[in-house]
């Protein structure tokens, strides 16, 4: 690793340490923000669950704790001081950065097996991508607020990095762990398997691979590994929660059925507050299926760039999943710099950046008016979460447009700079 990467990592680490130590009330303040902590990731709820767990009470009894049982086991083994916890979060962010650096150094975003960009020179060096992640205000806020989504992000990034390093089994295992932690990353399975497959095929000449190496066999193996790993994790959880399956309903059930309507930056809470009960099940199905349909479509259309499918899926999840937070958006926004070379092809970069910044400022203001000042109401905050989601949607759509356009340019000569219309 070069000096620049190391200095970026050190800088990011020092900044986080400084924020944790110089402003001791900041973690609680940020941890209580609905934009950062959701019912399924909140650190406060984790502490509550931990307390119940270490005192021999089922953490899932009170309806407060909705996170994975292994997190309890992990945190109960760690020293309970605040500094130790903060360090765990910092280490998680650094591990994410290392994974990002691996992804960036592989250059897989510009030159993969099936696709080679003509704009390769524009790609950012690894340290730039690392800096964009470590110094992104959303990432910092998510790290200081200590939601457990930080760990999910780390594991997802590790999974992608392993896939690009040609180690499919660790990649699949990491993805299994992230799905175990927060369910929705399971939608990344297909693009991740393709990513591993492409890499293996590209980097090892066919002689090195087994003679009967084919996508279907490879995929079958990986999917089997994935489900076995998930089953093992669930079994382990069953054992540590005192031989009870209670945790399933309290963790994945909450993701799926949305019993807790605490506001967040997503689109679900307000919609389901307003919903008449008879329609609730129907719309829950619609909302969940809506998330599901993107995965096959993107995987097929962007067959040449499975890495971008993973990134786009993460962006879509950060908008449409049941309990999104800015930690999810931070993950998406810090993966985008890998595709630095397509940014000139994006059409709304200025508008979208402005809209995201506007929403960032107006969100807390409107939440304040609603909750503290009492002079506003829920519609204020909901309106701004709509703007937020709309702007992230625009980023996702625009990046997708740019990638498609670039593929189109690569397919034929002389297509650069020609205006196109997307239908």
């Amino acid at each position: 690793m070069d000096k620049r990467c190391i200095s970026v990592i050190l800088g990011g680490m020092l900044l986080r340490l400084l924020l944790f130590t110089a402003f001791p009330s900041l973690p609680t303040l940020l941890g209580n923000r609905v934009e950062i902590s959701t019912p399924v990731t909140s650190f406060k709820r984790l502490q509550e669950g931990l307390f119940l767990y270490t005192h021999g009470v089922s953490p899932y009894d009170g309806g407060v704790y909705h996170q994975a049982p292994l997190l309890l086991a992990f945190f109960s083994m760690m020293p309970s001081s605040a500094m130790a916890t903060n360090l765990i979060y910092i280490i998680a962010d650094i591990q994410s950065t290392l994974a990002l650096i691996d992804i960036a150094r592989s250059g897989w975003s510009t030159k993969s097996r099936l696709h080679e960009s003509k704009r390769k020179e524009m790609a950012w060096p690894a340290w730039g991508v690392a800096a964009a992640f470590l110094f992104n205000p959303f990432t910092i806020a998510a790290c200081i607020g200590r939601p457990t989504v930080v760990f999910t992000n780390t594991v997802i990034l590790t999974a992608i990095a392993k896939a690009i390093q040609g180690r499919p089994t660790p990649a699949t295992l990491a993805l299994a762990l992230s799905s175990y932690l927060s369910l929705y990353p399971c939608l990344l399975l297909a693009p991740l398997v393709l990513l591993s497959y492409d890499f293996l095929l590209h980097c090892h000449s066919t002689t090195l691979l087994p003679t009967n190496f084919s996508l279907s066999k490879f995929a079958t193996t990986q999917v089997t590994i994935y489900f076995t790993a998930v089953a093992c994790l669930l079994g382990l959880s069953y054992l540590i929660t005192g031989n009870s399956w209670e945790f399933l309903a309290s963790t994945y059930g909450v993701h799926l059925f949305l019993p807790d309507l605490t506001p967040n930056v997503g689109l679900w809470w307000y919609f389901f507050i307003e919903m008449f009960d008879p329609f609730r099940e129907f719309f829950l199905c619609v909302f969940q299926l809506h998330l599901l349909i993107y995965a096959p479509g993107l995987t097929i259309r962007l067959r040449k760039q499975p890495l971008f499918v993973c990134i786009t899926m993460l962006g879509i999840l950060s908008i449409f999943k049941s309990y999104p937070s800015i930690g999810d958006t931070a993950l998406y926004l810090s993966l985008l710099p890998l595709y630095r070379h397509i940014i000139p092809l994006m059409r709304y970069s200025f508008v979208v950046t402005s809209a995201i910044l506007y929403a960032t400022l107006l969100g807390p203001a409107f939440y304040h008016l609603w909750i503290y000042a009492g002079s506003g109401n829920a519609n204020f905050f909901y309106a701004i979460t709509l703007v937020w989601s709309l702007s992230v949607t625009l980023v996702v759509a625009d990046a997708l447009f740019a990638v498609l356009r670039e593929e189109w340019e690569v397919e034929g000569n002389g297509r650069e700079g020609k205006p196109v219309v997307q239908i």
Partner: protein
């Protein structure tokens, strides 16, 4: 999904229109504001919450209560030079004699090397028909804002405590509160009531508490004798306002049931003309924009407790009995509330006792002014691309050229402009910390030095910037610096307009000139004139303006600001030093760049020729 080639779209450049559009936004925004006092744009006030029934209950205060009032007034006058402990003891005894539970609270705050300390005393009338889940507050400071002993106010509160105790109609507890002073005392009490005082060890906890406070009325009646009108003060800290229903109820009860003329914003003679309405509105906006505490009621508002201060004014035929009846009637109305004030407006501008505009009508003016900055930013963003010599469209004609040359010119170098703007904003922390931490006696000198630094700092920074930016991209980089600065200003102001409309509007109007600062071209004379104009519209000069408006020295203004920061939790300073000042500084640097460091527009083409 597919990508199709289409005809090259004609490139229309609306850039030339944008500056005019920006100017139009500013003009329309200000005109909009000036139109508000007209009959067609403002509305008549009305009571929205039916439960209030203002003035429907008969008030019986009078008769022998007047003698008791006189007795308490004498008691209060005798305590004029007594110590805090003695005073609290006597007042506590009076409350206890009326059969109320009494609590005391000591407090002490430090701001800018000055200590504000005292002791509050309060009593709780437990509602015969309530369950102690809700309460209302009647308060009088021992000394009012002008540091005059509030003899009449304290006497009337004690008299009413004794009188109201006899009624069996109360369904909400009534808390009678006598604070040591007008700002720090109520703040300490309200903080402690809501358990938010723990960060300050100087503030004691309250020994007695009641339920959620539904409304509060603060009485400022120093004369204790006859008066002509009452003045209703309603501005909360940070520009938050109490529900309009409370203000209207006070005005309505006073005027229609007791014939007491209510006044607003110190407009003692209001003849309901356009001019008077406008002045009332502007005075209200100045107070709201500054966001400082203007009396005991101000500190209640941030806790979502609707509160007003009633101050007596002038010399007329009303006396303590009218005021007592007015308060009795007000508390009967508050007592009627079925739920927290919520019906009427929380965002409004009052321009006469009977005339107001609500947020939907006035917000566009501040938003238009904020939009002017965003339009400027968009213009500069597009412009920073267009001014680059090799346009991407021209290279497409040579289709065989590599893609890198076509892609490169679209790129803007964002790193330096972004860093510059961020550094400017972080610089704002310096004056913020400085003016909140300095001891009071250093204020005037430091402020003069600060004004001088403001005069030269743009030149210093611009020379630093000149050495950092390569000459070939200077114009584009400067445009981007201005673009980001304006973008952030526009965003911050539109977010602020929802929290404190007047502050957003004030800062917006004062910095409107920033949009029109030229980045390129223009003679030095124009730039010199603009620089002088900019210096006159600086945040520092705004503080001088406030000092002149209040008729006090700079030290007093800065002391008040520091008091607001440390005691009232006011955040106007953050807006001034971390939003306005950096944007202003950015404008100054751009002008200075042209006055000193600019190499002249003519030089640029020469360089390009060399390259070719």
């Amino acid at each position: 999904m597919g990508l199709l080639l289409s005809k090259r779209l004609a490139t229309i450049r609306p850039l030339a229109v944008l500056p005019f559009l920006s100017a139009l936004c500013v003009v329309v925004g200000i005109t909009w504001l000036l139109l508000l006092p007209l009959d067609s744009y403002s509305r008549r006030t009305y009571i929205s919450e039916n439960a209030l029934l203002p003035g429907q209950a008969s008030a019986y205060f009078g008769g022998s209560e007047q003698n008791i009032f006189s007795a308490y007034r004498h008691e209060a006058a005798e305590l004029a030079n007594a110590t805090d402990a003695k005073r609290v003891q006597v007042l506590g005894n009076i409350f206890a004699a009326a059969g109320l539970k009494v609590g005391r609270q000591k407090y002490s705050y430090t701001a800018s090397g000055q200590t504000y300390s005292g002791e509050n005393v309060y009593a709780i009338l437990q509602a015969p028909r309530g369950d102690a889940t809700e309460a209302t507050v009647l308060s009088a400071p021992w000394k009012n804002l002008d540091d005059i002993q509030n003899i009449g106010g304290v006497a009337l509160v004690t008299t009413l405590a004794r009188y109201l105790k006899r009624w069996s109609v109360w369904s909400k507890d009534i808390i009678f509160l006598i604070t040591s002073d007008s700002l720090a005392g109520p703040q300490a009490w309200v903080d402690a009531y809501h358990d938010q005082h723990t960060s300050n060890p100087g503030v004691e906890s309250l020994p007695l508490k009641s339920g959620a406070i539904q409304g509060a009325i603060v009485l400022d009646y120093p004369s204790g004798g006859n008066f002509e009108s009452i003045h209703i003060a309603y501005d909360g800290v940070n520009g938050q306002l109490p529900n309009l229903d409370l203000v209207n109820t006070a005005g309505n009860v006073a005027l229609h049931h007791f014939g007491i003329r209510p006044t607003l914003q110190e407009m003692w003679d209001h003849n309901d003309s356009y001019k008077d309405r406008l002045r009332t509105m502007l005075r209200g906006m100045v107070n709201q924009g500054l966001g400082h505490a203007r009396g005991g009621h101000s500190v209640f508002v941030p806790y979502h407790v609707d509160a007003v201060t009633v101050q007596v004014h002038g010399d007329g035929w009303h006396n303590e009995v009218s005021l007592g009846r007015f308060l009795e009637s007000m508390f009967r109305s508050l007592n009627n509330l079925l739920e927290h004030f919520h019906q009427s407006f929380f965002f409004y501008l009052l321009m006469a006792q009977k005339r107001f505009v609500s947020i939907g009508t006035y917000l566009p003016s501040a938003m238009l002014i904020a939009v002017n900055f965003t339009l400027g930013a968009i213009g500069l963003w597009v412009d920073s691309l267009g001014s680059s010599p090799p346009l991407p469209l021209t290279t497409t004609s040579t289709e065989k050229s590599t893609s890198h040359t076509t892609a490169a010119p679209i790129e803007r170098d964002l790193f330096l402009p972004l860093t510059t703007v961020l550094v400017f904003h972080f610089l704002g922390i310096l004056p913020l910390t400085l003016f909140n931490h300095l001891p009071t006696h250093l204020f005037t000198r430091t402020f003069s030095a600060f004004l001088f630094i403001n005069l030269v700092l743009p030149f210093l920074l611009s020379s630093t910037l000149t050495s950092l930016i390569p000459a070939s991209t200077r114009e584009r980089q400067l445009k981007l610096i201005k673009c980001f600065s304006l973008l952030f200003l526009g965003m911050a102001l539109s977010a602020l307009a929802t929290l404190n409309f007047s502050l957003a509007l004030g800062v917006g109007v004062a910095s409107a000139v920033l949009t029109f600062i030229p980045v390129e071209g223009n003679g030095k004379v124009v730039r010199g004139v603009m620089y002088v104009l900019l210096q006159c519209l600086s945040p520092g000069m705004a503080l001088v303006g406030i000092a002149c408006y209040w008729g006090v020295g700079m030290e007093e203004v800065l002391r008040e600001a520091s008091f607001g920061w440390w005691v009232s939790g006011m955040w106007t300073q953050i807006v001034v030093w971390c939003v306005w000042w950096p944007a202003w500084l950015c404008g100054g640097v751009l002008l200075a760049e042209g006055l000193v460091g600019w190499r002249g527009v003519e030089d640029v083409p020469v360089e390009e020729k060399k390259k070719q």
